[in-house]
């Protein structure tokens, strides 16, 4: 997982951290049960204050994206699976919409696109 | 307390060499004089004590010392203890060297030494230190070297007449109860001085 903090950004630092971790969870890069760095470790690595990372984690906890276990640290939560799936579906739909747009520009019919997709699926399975 | 004494030994390594040098030079120059033994002991003791104290002010070292886990009371007490040690060592060393020369080179030293010749320099040094140390801890960093110079002068002027008087007194027969009484009261003065200094130094802003 990458977290990049920009001083030029208008967003407060805790928000930047929050957005990037949320992104990693929603994209599936971080899976339920994966452990996150401790609040203090993250503060050290990013050279920001402990309060800042704490606030980011607290917000993530509120969104039920992570769980903090006393003495063990923070983990990506499994509690909000439906939400995560929904979010990922939504993103997939966006990509599919893009495909539809592109195919229109290439004057492909719906049939053509479906066939192409089937072909790619088969290729993926055999490889 | 032990740690503070150790501190003085380590920090004063250089100046201890200086004290030995002073001791040797004065020994050589004064040896033939009647009062040599007293003077050498007193001068060496005072030079050592003043260099030990100067060491602590030279670089604002009290500011460092108070960051360590010791109380100011301990800092002062340790200085009194090490002064006492210095006085004994310097006077006894002077006695030792003079007695040795007297035996080794017969006829070189004509005066005889007795117990009183050890006790008197000790008593004189106890009084001087009792006055010196409270001033030292009360004054600022800049005041301390001035204080040392003043004391050194007082001492150069006073040393000889005092020693002469004592010598004369001892020729007229020694009043032992008086000598021990005096020594005892100088010790009391020394302890009282320590309490005063602790009080002054504890209240001081560094």
């Amino acid at each position: 997982m990458n977290i990049i903090i920009s001083n030029a950004s208008g967003d407060p630092i805790y928000m930047q951290i929050l957005n990037q971790i949320r992104q990693s969870i929603l994209s599936g890069e971080l899976q339920a049960g994966d452990s996150l760095p401790s609040i203090r470790q993250l503060a050290k690595d990013l050279q920001v204050s402990v309060i800042t990372t704490k606030r980011a984690y607290e917000e993530l906890e509120k969104e039920q994206l992570i769980d903090s276990v006393v003495g063990k640290g923070c983990f990506v939560s499994g509690a909000n699976k439906d939400f995560i799936r929904e979010q990922r579906m939504k993103r997939l739909e966006e990509k599919l919409l893009e495909v539809i747009q592109d195919s229109k520009e290439l004057s492909m019919s719906q049939q053509d696109v479906m066939e192409h997709l089937t072909l790619l699926f088969e290729e993926d399975q055999t490889s | 307390m032990l740690n503070l004494l150790r501190k003085d030994f380590i920090a004063a390594k250089m100046s201890l060499g200086m004290s030995i040098l002073i001791f040797s030079i004065f020994c050589i120059f004064f040896m033939k004089k009647e009062m040599s033994m007293h003077l050498v002991g007193i001068i060496t003791a005072f030079a050592t004590i003043s260099s030990l104290t100067l060491n602590d002010t030279k670089n604002h070292n009290h500011l460092f010392l108070v960051t360590l886990p010791v109380s100011r009371k301990h800092i002062v007490q340790a200085k009194y203890v090490i002064s006492l040690l210095t006085i004994f060592v310097a006077v006894l060393a002077s006695y030792g060297v003079h007695s040795f020369v007297k035996i080794a080179v017969p006829g070189y030293i004509t005066v005889g030494y007795s117990m009183i010749d050890i006790l008197v320099p000790i008593a004189i040094m106890l009084v001087l230190t009792s006055i010196y140390l409270p001033f030292f801890y009360m004054l600022s960093e800049k005041g301390a070297p001035v204080l040392n110079v003043i004391f050194f002068f007082i001492f150069l002027i006073m040393a000889d007449p005092v020693a002469q008087t004592i010598h004369k007194a001892s020729l007229n027969g020694i009043n032992y109860p008086l000598v021990y009484g005096t020594l005892f009261s100088t010790l009391l003065l020394f302890i009282a001085s320590c309490y005063v200094t602790v009080y002054l130094f504890t209240k001081k802003d560094l």
Binding site: P12, I13, Y14, S38, R40, Q41, A43, K44, Q47, V48, S49, V50, I51, T52, R55 | L2, N3, R6, K7, I10, A11, K13, M14, N55, K58, N59, H60, N61, H62, L63, F64, V66, T67, L68, P69, V70, S71, K203, D205, L206
Partner: protein, 288 residues
């Protein structure tokens, strides 16, 4: 839980007064004591360390009363000052021999590894060290006796930029243990303010505020605009204003209120800690 509790501290000097300062330093966090030079930061720190006795008020360090439990406190406190007042004629090794026996929890191995990391030769005399090297040595000492509270007076003033960054790492390393606390005073806010959790701002012997840094930075704002926007009522909203022929620039304490007041007529920017110090120190008197 507070690592330091100052209550109603007052100290009157001929030219300067620390006036009724009460301050809590939270345990487990880094607090920056900021303010211009000569406003009482060092005096406050000296009072915490028992070097200066307050005229009135009380001091508690790590739950212990200062000066009654001074020795216990100092076993658990590490001190780094821009001038450390070690014995000049003594080598680093001998200085360590002087210091180490005083501490119950001295960690020789840790100390040696810090010396190596900081490139300090044990044979070097204290008098030969540069200011930055002395601070490194003081830091090595402070980190080697397992201090729970690190008190630093202007620690970065003699350090080069490279070591300043390393210092941030060392401090963050210490803060991995949430029982540890750091407080430092500084008038250079740019590097250490990154990792500070709380900011206590001292000006003219008084505490202006002591809050979480993020809150301070969210609350204050720099406003820039046309001078015609300023009238005497509006001026009062500013902590300080700097006016030139081309417009004004000022610090407001309540960003939200100012945004409602000026709307689109002025430009709003995030205030830095340096802005906050500057405009507070200058007060309303700042004119270019």
């Amino acid at each position: 839980m507070n690592a330091i509790e100052l209550r109603n501290l007052t100290k009157i000097y001929p030219q300067f007064t620390v006036n009724n300062v009460s301050l809590d330093v939270k345990r487990g966090y880094i607090t920056g004591l900021i303010g211009p030079n000569g406003v009482g930061k060092s005096t406050l720190i000296k009072m915490m360390l028992g070097m200066v006795r307050p005229d009135t008020g009380s001091i508690k360090i790590l739950g212990c009363d200062m000066p009654r439990q001074e020795i216990d406190i100092k076993q658990r406190v590490g001190i780094v000052s821009d001038d450390c007042f070690y014995y000049e004629d003594v080598s680093i090794r001998d200085m360590k021999r002087i210091i180490a026996p005083f501490y119950k929890k001295w960690n020789e191995q840790k100390f040696n590894s810090y010396l190596e990391q900081f490139e300090l030769s044990p044979k070097k005399k204290i008098g030969q060290l540069s200011k930055g090297m002395k601070i490194k040595f003081a830091l090595a000492v402070a980190l080697s006796h397992e201090a729970e509270l690190l008190i630093m007076d202007e620690p970065t003033s003699g350090l080069d930029p490279v070591f300043r960054r390393e210092l941030l790492d060392l401090l963050a390393e210490m803060m991995q243990d949430e029982r540890n606390t750091i407080i430092f005073s500084t008038h250079i806010t740019t590097d250490l303010d990154r990792i500070a959790d709380y900011i206590s701002f001292v000006n003219r012997g008084q505490l202006v505020f002591s809050e979480a840094k993020d809150e301070v930075l969210d609350r204050y704002a720099i406003v820039k605009g046309d001078r015609q926007l300023l009238d005497s009522d509006i001026r009062k909203k500013f902590t300080g204003v700097r006016e030139t022929a081309f417009g004004f620039e000022g610090l407001v304490e309540n960003r939200h209120e100012a945004e409602q007041l000026f709307g689109n007529y002025a430009v709003f920017e995030k205030a830095s800690l340096e802005d906050i110090i500057y405009y507070n120190a200058k007060g309303g008197r700042a004119h270019a």
